[in-house]
Amino acid sequence: MNMTAAEPGQRIGRIVHRTACALIFTFLMAPILVIVPLSFNAEPYFTFTEGMLRLDPDAWSLRWYRQILGDDAWRRAFANSLFIGVASTALATVLGTLAALGLSSPDMPARRLAMGLMISPMVTPLIISATGMFFFYSTLGLSQTHAGLILAHAALGTPFVVITVTAALSAFDTNLTRAAASLGAGPLQIFRRVQLPLIAPGVVSGALFAFATSFDEVVVVLFMAGEDQRTLPRQMWGGIREQISPAILAVATFLIVFAVLLLLTVDGLRRRAAAAGGR
């Protein structure tokens, strides 16, 4: 204990700070935590029934989960989300990784401009991107097609790949590539055998960000998707707008579990990268 910590003023300050932080964390977590138990509600209400609070087993049920799993529309939406997500992620990851390799080179001309351009899909309001894409993709006949949505989502996902891979490359020791080159490796071999293994965690996190972006994206989908391209978020959007039913909460719980898995994966990758880079 140092002396200053013992001052009463500071102790009060610390208590106030801790209490405030507890409240703020409650604000952050409450919405996510409340929705999970409510998805097991036996009644079509959005609040805890008395039975639920008494932990009466009859007040809890899996009916909303059964309803979702038995519903063709939700299954199709899930399949669409997965397909569009995986395809757009693959595209975004390849393009983004290549670009990050270029951006990280000390010789890259007009780096700021290129970076600004590549990051712009991330900061442009989605409503604007969606409006522009709707106009342009319609003239190409790409609206209401899977291909159109894949291209659109890939465009929105690339900034994340560029950022994570650039960060991974900034931790990369360039002496390694020079050493490899001096030992006679060509550029492709250097990339495959030296760079890629070390930046792989960054590439994978970028890919996960890109996938999460596509998997959660609804504005472009609202503007461009037809009946056959309805994704999970689009299906949820309809459910929230029209008649919000606890079935939505079951889907939401699934997506929360999905988010936890993503978070843990990305965190694990970051730790691995930190350990590998010695930073």
């Binding site: 952050l28 919405p31 990051i119 409503i127 409006t131 959660d216 978020p233 997506l255 988010a259 965190d267």
Partner: protein, 394 residues
């Protein structure tokens, strides 16, 4: 260019081209749409030709009537009449029904004189204002949508004036969007700074856990978070139930917390809070803890040491976080659309309305252009404070 420079540029080329085609060109298309509208010009070329030399006051003459009659009929056959009429209606309200009705009735008249026929169908054809509206709607390039988006109008003498106060929509909307976003940014800073501080100064294990608590909402689907706020805040929801249970609110006096501006502000603050915490936290972690101890040993109390030593060093993180939150807030669509009700709508929601409901795509493009300009300025500022360079995803 040197060979390594060419190689680096070549690696970025595929993405530059891809982003250019799939993203930048679409944005340009939207901006073009906001000033370029060929529908009327393409449908009524002869009519507009006749009106070119017209003084705008007198009768446009039989030739103009004949051309209009022929081209309206053709537009009706080609099924473009609806779009043509709605364009004209935006210049002069009421013109849609005149045009549609006239085109329908014109079928019954095999022959002119067309002036007499059209005046017989509708008196409005005798009003020069009708023809002036057609001429205006026939401009391929027009600033009309931007005037409209700025609550301005062009008077018949060509001068520009403000809309009457009760018809000003978009400037108050833009103002509301900016002030609400500013408020949300302030809230995010007020909530985000203390927890960033807590995390930055916690022992590693606990810091990792607390950071996880910030990141979980960040990774959770936006629709899920928005749904949660509906569930929590609605009148029969968890928060109101809690307030009733502890007796703060009577059962018949439940508070409307959602489907209004309150809902928009609460949900958006929640959604955007991680974007404030992360940059501030990463700046705080770089501040050596010895500094505060040194300040204390020199006799500064905590408030003074904080204000003079700590806070100034976090300003770049605060600036980057605030700009990021503000940029994201002014363009937000989903959350206000779902929890904002009537009063909690922002500029994005009006863009969506004009895209999907009123189908006034030119106006949607103009509103989008204005929003895009705001974001572009803030984005440059964000880059200036080094936000782009330091942008890290976790």
């Amino acid at each position: 260019m040197t060979r390594p420079a060419r190689r680096a540029a070549a690696l970025t080329l595929p993405l530059v081209a891809f982003t250019g085609v799939t993203f930048v060109i679409p944005l340009a298309t939207m901006l073009v749409r906001s000033v370029h509208d060929p529908v009327v010009a393409d449908a009524l070329p002869d009519t507009l030709d006749r009106l070119r030399g017209w003084d705008g006051q007198s009768d446009p003459g039989e030739a103009a009537y004949a051309a209009a009659a022929r081209e309206l009929l053709r537009a009706r056959e080609e099924r473009t009449l609806g779009r043509v009429a709605s364009r004209m209606n935006r210049v002069r309200s009421g013109l849609r029904s005149v045009v549609v009705r006239s085109a329908r009735r014109l079928q019954d008249f095999p022959d002119g004189p067309w002036r007499a026929v059209m005046l017989d169908i509708d008196d409005d054809w005798g009003d020069p204002a009708t023809w002036r509206a057609i001429r205006t709607a026939g401009d391929r390039f027009t600033a009309r949508h931007y005037l409209n988006a700025a609550d301005l109008q062009r008077l018949s003498d060509g001068s520009i004036a403000r809309q009457p106060p009760d018809q000003r929509i978009y400037l108050p909307l833009l103002w509301r969007t900016l002030t609400v976003s500013l408020g949300i940014t302030g809230l995010c800073l007020a909530l985000g700074y203390p927890i960033a501080y807590l995390i930055a100064h916690a022992p590693p294990g606990r810091a990792g856990f607390l950071l996880g608590l910030v990141l979980l909402p960040f990774w959770t689907s936006l629709l899920v978070r928005t749904t949660s706020w509906i569930v929590l805040l609605q009148t029969q929801g968890v928060v109101n139930d809690l307030l009733v249970a502890v007796g703060l609110v009577a059962d018949d006096g439940r508070i409307a917390l959602v489907y209004n501006m309150t809902g928009t502000v609460v949900a958006m603050t929640h959604v955007l809070l991680p974007f404030m915490v992360l940059p501030v936290y990463s700046i705080m972690r770089a501040i050596p803890p010895q500094q505060m101890r040194a300040a204390a040993s020199l006799g500064a109390g905590f408030p003074r040491a904080f204000l003079r030593v700590y806070w100034p060093q976090t300003l770049s993180g605060v600036g980057a976080g605030s700009l990021l939150v503000f940029i994201l807030a002014i363009g937000y669509y989903i959350t206000p659309a779902l929890v904002g009700g009537q009063s909690g709508q922002l500029i994005s929601n009006f863009i969506a309305y004009h895209m999907q409901t009123s189908l006034n795509w030119g106006l949607a493009g103009a509103l989008g252009g204005i929003l895009l300009a705001c974001v572009a300025v803030l984005y440059l500022l964000f880059d200036r404070v080094g936000g782009l360079e330091r942008m890290r995803l976790r």
